[in-house]
Symmetry: C2
Subunit: 386 residues, 2 copies
């Protein structure tokens, strides 16, 4: 019986995680849940899965949840301390880190420091503080199991093969809804267009990141840290069908790939069950019915965010954290229609250009860089991106 | 330094094996070579690689080779005894079994019985006597390393994953030159048409087998024995580009595949170097340049040989050996224009229909079934397939 704490239980990954746990009650038990704004769903989940503790953002929310869960034996806590409590709970064997954005960093660090194996769905943890996290995990013998379909694919394609024999990693990208849209049209994109992802059903932030290819950029950085491979050996292929989830090329020319229908349940389940697999009730991949898989190189001219991410990884130190912060602000501003879709990379690039890179020596230093990036991005927006 | 005996050194696989050995002289040394009719090439190879022993088919050929290699310290032997000598040489660490057809069975059995690891390119060994060979290899701790691109792909896709989690194997097939030809046209196919394989450069026998899909049928039977998976869990996809070399589907819906350019050097090198990989000087697979991969189900109506192979595996015992024997006779007769392309499966099916299945308890029993199948096939041909 694996005891699991789910950070971000009401988001897309959190909900799928709980579906899997519900399918395999003899294997998994939920011991903690944390959520942001969706208190209704959190309370419903708590009633169903009976965690030891739940955490929400504010004291006010905690009061509401306590009232709704009266009669249930559950501890309700809140804020960063509440998140840390859930991430480092003595009763948890594994933490599913599925909080979106920079907010996921602190609890994920807490989980690693508490020696918990982490099913890592929060990209920003490694983007912002990859070096620190990987070293901390290594020292404590903590396993970081990727939940992203791309990193799960690479993890599976590396399994059973020698790391010394890797020539390059190839991350696939659907290319998002604007894959074939001319650059001149980018100014007219409205949030509803960008939120209509062709293959994957995901949260808003990551859907916009998919449309700009920043999502793939964050994944390149994440792959660098997870698999200890330099940026020069990480390539991206546009693969609109999202069937090959990513690949590893070896020195003999052999390429090992992991494929599947585009559904997050498979990679989430693999992170939970590794090194075993769960007999999921998923429709099988039918390549004959699909008929065709296609591939093309990414267009960095139309999608500069991918280039910015490679640049950030190359620059190192605090630059990826600053880039990520600027991107979060940019995406939020786009969703509020304060800036255009085409402005997203412009804003990020401007923020990165005026950042003085520093080494990442502590999580606090990373959080300062994050705050600096956000405040600078907001200033640029307030100034009309002039 | 791995010392290698190459059985069938002048064939397509043998020549590629020697190319790899020549590229990595610090890793491999050739200790034995055997050949059929191409004495010129055998002598050239012997002068270059300086084996301890070479073997040819007849005493007359051995005399010719001895004369040509006068002055070189090399033992020249012949016949089945000569092949067995090369297969079981005390100085050999590994035997590359690359003799084509049923003739490969006896020396491969000898290699396994001598405790040599075998890089297995000869399909018929497992098709005819899979149960015996696998048990013998298990008892002696012998590794059977597949050289076929499909089985190498499956071997790589299984590596690092649990056998219990396998849902099915998916072998890919190019579909051969007549993939899209209407069945009515099959009577007009001449050997030159069938020998023009779209992707792979191979020997004549295997090229015809690719055109009839019997090659894939033999591979299904081979996969059953190599990977201990029942026929019901082995599927075939037509994949004309021959880029995905085969796949393994797991119980969680995950599919692991091995891809590469269609070149036998990669799987041969993997069998030689496993569990390491060699830094081959191969052009990298460029999926973006290729653009498209396509898949479709095999058409068993137009290509009955594939169905016959499943039937033979299902029937078990001596049936696969008889099917293989009939196929070898049929292919030879087609190449001599004694029967039509459409007659190949008709002939095989007739021979199988009049065979009384027996258990395979000894190699001799298998060889008797092989002889029976050949003689019966020849009788049918002599009778004008009436």
């Amino acid at each position: 019986m694996k005891r699991i704490s789910v950070l971000g239980s009401t988001g897309s990954i959190g909900v799928s995680t709980l579906q899997i746990v519900a399918e395999f009650p003899e294997r998994y038990r939920i011991v903690a849940l944390t959520a942001g704004n969706n208190l209704d769903l959190l309370c419903e989940q708590a009633k169903k899965f009976r965690p030891i503790v739940v955490a929400v953002i504010s004291q006010v929310d905690a009061g509401i949840v306590k009232k709704r869960l009266a009669g249930f034996q559950v501890e309700v806590c809140f804020g960063v301390a509440g998140m840390i409590r859930c991430a480092s709970l003595a009763d948890a064997d594994m933490v599913v880190a599925a909080v979106v954005g920079a907010a996921g960093l602190i609890p994920t660090v807490a989980a690693v420091q508490a020696g918990k194996d982490v099913a890592l769905a929060n990209k920003e943890t490694l983007v912002m503080a990859g070096g620190l996290i990987i070293e901390e995990a290594r020292q404590r013998g903590v396993k970081l199991l990727p939940v992203d379909s791309e990193h799960s694919a690479i993890f599976q394609a590396l399994s059973g093969h020698r790391h010394d024999d890797v020539r390059r990693l190839i991350l696939t990208a659907s290319g998002g809804p604007f894959r074939d849209l001319p650059a001149a049209e980018f100014r007219h994109i409205v949030p509803a267009d960008a939120l209509a992802h062709p293959n994957w059903s995901m949260g808003k932030k990551i859907t916009i990141d998919s449309a700009t290819l920043m999502n793939k950029g964050l994944e390149v950085i994440e792959a660098h840290w997870l698999f200890n491979v330099p940026a020069t050996k990480i390539d991206v292929h546009i693969h609109p069908e999202s069937i090959i989830h990513s690949m590893v090329e070896y020195i003999d020319g052999s390429v090992v790939a992991q494929l599947g229908i585009p559904d997050m349940k498979t990679p989430i389940a693999y992170a939970l069950s590794w090194p075993e697999r769960l007999p999921l009730n998923q429709p099988a991949l039918d390549l004959c019915e699909l008929g065709t898989l296609t591939f093309s190189p990414p267009d960095i001219q139309r999608f500069p965010c991918l280039g910015l991410a490679y640049h950030a990884l190359d620059a190192g130190g605090t630059v990826p954290a600053v880039m990520n912060a600027a991107n979060e602000v940019a995406v939020a501003a786009f969703l509020k229609q304060q800036i255009s879709f085409a402005d997203i990379p412009v804003l990020i690039e401007r923020v990165m250009a005026c950042h003085q890179v520093e080494d990442v020596t502590t999580v606090d230093r990373v959080l300062q860089a994050d705050l600096w990036g956000r405040s600078r991005a907001k200033k640029f927006i307030a100034g009309g991106l002039k």
